[in-house]
Point group: C2
Chain length 343, copies 2
C-alpha cells in the first residue's frame, strides 16, 4: 500500500486560551504542551517516511508565516486559502491536489495526542479502510461525559474498525453519561482518512455546488514555489460547511477506527492543565511560579513570577501585558471582556 | 492650650501586602488608598497650624530617604533610630526632644483614616486629657469582631473620654463578638496623646532600664540638620517593647477617647479593598483591569492589564515582576513562599 499523505488543517483561531492564544498567534503555533508547538507535533507524528508521504498543509494568509517557519524541514506543500471556508472546502482543496488514489489523513493541528504509536496504528487501520472507499473517522475512545464534542455511534464491524451508525452533536450531560457507560460511542476527533478521489466523488454527490466551486478555485489557482493559491473569486463563492455535515453525515460509506491515544483538543485551561501533566495536588505550572495550598490550579507565565495561595481550580495566565485569572469554567466568558480578545 | 506635636512613627515593614509592599518600600510610603501615600496622609491629617506644631518623625536608616522625600514640605524634624526597638523607645526618643509640657500625638504612619475632622476632634479631646497627665489612647469604635487587634475596656467617664479599665490582646472570635455587642470595648489603634514629661516619668517608673538607655542615647546623640541621630551603642542596649506593654498596661493613668473616624490598619487585601471603596459587587480595582462575574475581588496592577472571570474574594496584585493571586485569608501565608518576601 502506498504511503499516507498527511493533510494538516491550520485554520480557525479560538479565544478560549486567550491571552496565551491570540489572533496573531493562535493555538496551533504555541508550545502549549511540551517544547513543540501543536502544529510541529502534528507534523512530527507523521514524520515517518516508511508510512507517511510529505504533508499537505491547508492554511490561511494570516498564518502562512507561522506555518512556513515551523514546517521548515517537513518538505510540505502549502495550500493558502484566500479565506476560511470551514473543513469541507479545505479538505477538498487538498484532495484536488493529490492523485485520486492517494490516501489522505486529515489532521487538525491544534490537538494534543500523547500516544504517538497508537495514533500511527489507528492511521494504518484507517488507511486500509479508506483504500476500500470508506470515509473513515478516528473514533476517540471517550474518557469523560464531555458535552462539547460530537459523538459517533459504532455500527457493525468492518476490518479493524466499524461502520458509523449515527452522528450525535453535543449531547446533554445525561446523554453523554449514557454514551460513556454504553461503550458504543466515540468522540469525533476531526481526524479522517479518505481516498482523495472517492472523497471528491462523495462531496460532488452530496454538496455539488461546493464541489464545483472548489474545483473552479483549484483550476484557476496559481503555483508559487511550495505554495498553491486557489482562485480567490471562485473560493469566495463557497458556502463554508464542516466535513461532518457536508459529507460524513450524508454518505453511506462512513466508518470509524477506534483510537485510544491520549487525545485532547486542549479546548480549555483545564484540558491544558491535564495534558501538560499535573502534580499530586492537580496543579500544573509552566514558567516561574510558586503555589501554596492550591489544588487544580494551572499557571502559565512568560516572565513575571506568579505566586498563588489558597486557590482551587483557577487558571492564571501571564502573557506580555495581559494577566488572566479565571475559574476553569469562566474562560468560556473571555469574550465578555471588552476588546480583550481582539488582540 | 499649646499646639499638639505630631509624633509620626515610621518603622516596621510587614509582609501582608507583599508584593505591593516590599522591604525596600514598605506600606507607609505607598499610595495604597487614593493618591497620597499613607505616610503623606498621616502628615496631612496634622497639617493645620492652628492646632498642630511641626511634626517629629521617628524612623530608621532604611526608610530615611522615603521619609525625607515625602515629608519635604512639613518642616519636620527627624529622629533616625540606629535600629528598630519597638514603640516604647521610639516614643521616648521623641519625648526627650520636646519640652516637658509639650503635648505629643503619637501616630502610626501605616493606617488609613477616612474621616479627618473626626480624627482632629479626637486629637483635641485627647490633648486635653494628656495636659492633665493622663496617658491617652484613641479608642477606635469597633465595626467588626476583629481577632487581630488589641481591645480597650472603657472605665469611668473622664472629660470627653474614659479611663481604661483593662487591656485585652487579640481575643478569640467569640469574645470579640461579645466585645462588639457590649459597646464597652474599643480597638487600640496605636494612636496616643501624652504630655512628654509625664510620659518619660511613667516610663522611668515602670521600665527604668529602658528609660535610662533612651536618655543615654539622646545625651550621646548628634544633630545633623533636621536629623537627630541617637547614640548607636546606647540605643543597642535597649530591650525593645511596645508602648502598650511597657507603659499603658502598667500605668494607673491610662485613659481613652472614643474615635469613630473610618480607621483601618490596612492589614490585609480585604481591608485595602474596603478602604479603597468597592463597587456594588464588592470589587475594588486599581490600575488597568476588567472583571466579569466577580465579587469581593481586589485588583491592583502597576502595568499589565488584569482580566478576572468568575472569582470571589480573591486578591490579584501585579507589581513589577511579581504577580500574586490569593484568597483574602491566604495572604497571611505569603511567608510560605520561598524567598518571595525577601525582596
Amino acid at each position: 500500500m502506498s504511503r499516507i499523505v498527511p493533510v494538516v488543517l491550520c485554520g480557525g483561531s479560538g479565544t478560549r486560551l486567550w491571552p496565551r492564544s491570540r489572533k496573531t498567534k493562535p493555538k496551533p503555533f504555541l508550545p502549549l504542551v511540551g517544547d513543540e508547538t501543536m502544529f510541529e507535533a502534528t507534523l512530527s507524528r507523521c514524520n515517518d517516511p516508511q508510512r507517511f508521504a510529505s504533508p499537505v498543509i491547508v492554511t490561511g494568509t494570516a498564518h502562512i508565516e507561522h506555518v512556513e517557519a515551523q514546517a521548515k524541514d517537513a518538505g510540505a506543500s502549502v495550500i493558502v486559502e484566500p479565506q476560511a471556508k470551514n473543513t469541507a472546502a479545505a479538505i477538498a482543496l487538498a484532495a484536488h491536489r493529490l492523485a485520486p488514489d492517494a490516501i489522505m489523513l486529515v489532521c487538525p493541528s491544534d490537538h494534543h495526542i500523547a500516544d504517538v504509536p497508537a495514533f500511527r496504528a489507528a492511521a494504518a487501520a484507517a488507511a486500509k479502510l479508506a483504500a476500500d472507499d470508506w470515509l473513515v473517522a478516528f473514533g476517540i475512545v471517550p474518557t469523560a461525559p464531555e458535552t462539547g464534542y460530537g459523538y459517533l455511534k459504532q455500527g457493525e464491524p468492518l476490518g479493524e474498525g466499524r461502520r458509523i451508525e449515527r452522528f450525535v452533536e453535543k449531547p446533554d450531560l445525561q446523554r453523554a453519561q449514557q454514551f460513556l457507560t454504553s461503550g458504543e460511542y466515540s468522540w469525533n476527533g476531526g481526524i479522517f482518512a479518505f481516498r482523495a478521489g472517492f472523497f471528491l466523488e462523495e462531496l460532488a454527490k452530496h454538496r455539488p455546488a461546493l464541489a464545483e466551486a472548489v474545483a473552479a478555485a483549484v483550476a484557476g489557482g496559481e503555483e508559487d514555489g511550495a505554495r498553491f493559491h486557489p482562485d480567490a473569486a471562485a473560493f469566495a463563492a463557497i458556502e463554508g460547511e464542516s466535513v461532518d455535515y457536508a459529507v460524513m453525515e450524508e454518505t453511506d460509506r462512513a466508518a470509524m477506527v477506534p483510537a485510544a491515544m491520549g487525545w485532547s483538543d486542549i479546548g480549555s485551561w483545564a484540558a491544558l492543565r491535564d495534558a501538560a501533566g499535573a502534580d499530586g495536588a492537580g496543579n500544573s505550572v509552566r514558567g516561574n511560579a510558586e503555589l501554596v495550598d492550591c489544588s487544580g490550579v494551572f499557571v502559565d507565565t512568560d516572565g513575571p513570577r506568579v505566586s498563588a495561595i489558597g486557590l482551587s481550580d483557577i487558571a492564571i495566565v501571564v502573557d506580555g501585558d495581559e494577566v488572566l485569572v479565571t475559574t476553569m469554567d469562566g474562560a468560556q466568558k473571555v469574550g465578555k471582556l471588552g476588546g480583550a480578545t481582539n488582540q
